[in-house]
């Protein structure tokens, strides 16, 4: 049994980290870009499990049935990786998380586990049907990302579990994708709304469409009604109507924008997102 006592633990193996998690109350830390802003103290409070020493949690690998993104992979690593066009939206989001100082530290799993409604990583992962892998000393389970995020700052992760990887199924790696973020400035800004889209277009006809909106409800969401309206036709951005988008979203008024502005912005961002991800010859309007 490894040593699980102490206030700051930085194990080098996943098994050791899972033992620490099983031993009781502990905060999982990686890039600390959300943990440090949550305290005014000079150090991270409470008992800390720092997972940045565990090599196998970082990096991107091809595995049977899809692509595996390590939990502690940084935004900068995502940005620099050679990824398929279906993950271009994720790479565009990586460039807009905070700024370079944040992208060098912040991790994919941190963005998901922090579970901010405005997490930039979520819409691009929703459009590729991402699943999260959760491990504990009692086993491993996989959950669709949409089921993992249960509310603002709430996830389905048990306290003894570690989010170890994000898995993208091969079937969702088809097509091209794009991401747009609306904020008050280009860097160091929390999103008012952001949109991701992934489309498969064959012979000028949309055969698969995945759209997602973030920061316009308790959790980011797919838009099945709007997606259905696009499939089977040449791509027409104006098939994405304000009314259909508004029916799916439940934005709030806050210091960054009011609900009505968010809803209208999301619809316009979606139209611009789908226009941006197709080549001119694939575009009907």
């Amino acid at each position: 049994m490894p040593d699980v006592t102490g206030a700051y633990l930085r194990p080098e193996t996943l098994d050791a980290a899972l033992d620490v998690l099983a031993s009781g109350d502990v905060t999982v830390a990686a890039g600390c870009t959300d943990l440090f802003p949550a305290t005014e103290r000079r150090e991270l409070p409470g008992r800390v499990l720092d997972i940045t020493g565990i090599q196998e949690l970082s990096g991107i690998s091809v595995e049977e049935g899809g692509l595996r993104l390590g939990a502690a992979t940084s935004w900068t690593a995502i940005l620099r990786a050679d990824l398929p066009p279906a993950l271009r939206a994720l790479q565009l989001a990586a460039r807009e998380v905070g700024a370079m100082q944040i992208q060098n530290r912040g991790t994919l799993a941190g963005n998901l586990c922090n579970a901010s409604p405005a997490a930039d990583g979520v819409p691009p992962l929703l459009v590729v049907d991402a699943e999260v892998e959760l491990r504990s000393i009692s086993g491993t389970r996989r959950l669709p990302l949409a089921d993992f995020l249960t509310g603002p700052r709430r996830t389905a992760r048990r306290s003894d579990e570690l989010l170890t990887a994000i898995f993208i199924p091969q079937t969702a790696l088809a097509g091209n994708s794009y991401f747009l973020k609306l904020g008050a400035r280009s860097y160091l800004v929390i999103s008012i709304a952001m949109t991701a889209a992934r489309m498969v277009i064959e012979d000028g006809i949309v055969t698969d469409a995945a759209l997602a909106v973030g920061a316009c409800g308790p959790v980011a969401t797919r838009l099945p009604e709007v997606e259905r309206a696009l499939v089977g036709h040449p791509l027409r951005a104006d098939a994405i109507t304000d009314a259909a988008v508004a029916r799916t979203l439940s934005p709030i008024d806050d210091v960054r924008a009011d609900a009505g502005y968010r809803s209208r912005s999301a619809a316009e961002l979606l139209r611009r997102t789908v226009k941006a991800l197709v080549t001119p010859s694939e575009r009907a309007a």
Binding site: Y8, G46, D50, M100, L188
Partner: protein, 177 residues
């Protein structure tokens, strides 16, 4: 719970420094209080301002968001430790372009600029803006700072501020607005 001090070794200016401090402590605090590197400014302690930007293994990070444990064995650079020739050219450009006013953001901008200029000595404006995007300035309006960084690589606008000693009694061109 407070983490007990542990022995940590960081590389600064080519030398290994060993210190005992709590592993959960902000690197910004340790650099300032334990190592006396006061160019590292603390503005927000939340990653919102970039004033504490340092280079870790050559890449810009907010020191306030870095627990000391994650600096162990890494190469840390602050404005005190970077190559003097490049920092002198940057200082001169900041001076000539009026890019420093109250000054609290200046070391952060310079560290972000140094990472960029090492990789790309003649960056274009969008590249400079992206590299400096994580540092806030509430005085200058950014244009002067971006111009100063571009001037180091020989691009951008001509200097607008007269040399020291030549300003009294002369009108100085307005840079912004």
């Amino acid at each position: 719970m407070t983490s007990e001090p542990v022995t940590t070794t960081v590389e600064l200016a080519g030398k290994a420094y060993t210190l005992r401090a709590a592993p959960a402590r902000r690197l910004s605090e340790v650099l300032r209080e334990e190592l006396g590197l006061k160019s590292v400014k603390v503005g927000c302690d939340a990653g919102d301002c970039g004033a504490c930007t340092v280079l870790i293994d050559g890449a810009q990070h907010c020191a306030c968001l870095t627990p000391l444990a994650q600096a162990d064995g890494r190469r840390i650079e602050t404005l005190e430790t970077v190559e003097p020739e490049l920092s002198a050219r940057l200082q001169q450009a900041f001076l000539q372009h009026g890019a420093a006013q109250c000054g609290i953001c200046t070391p952060g901008f310079m560290m972000a600029a140094i990472e960029l200029l090492r990789a790309d000595p003649t960056p274009d404006r969008p590249t400079v803006e992206a590299a400096l995007g994580g540092v806030l300035c509430r005085c200058t309006g950014y244009r002067k700072i971006v111009s100063a960084v571009m001037a180091v690589g020989g691009e951008g606008a001509d200097p607008v501020v007269p040399s020291p000693g030549q300003a009294v009694g002369r009108s100085i061109p307005r840079v912004d607005g």
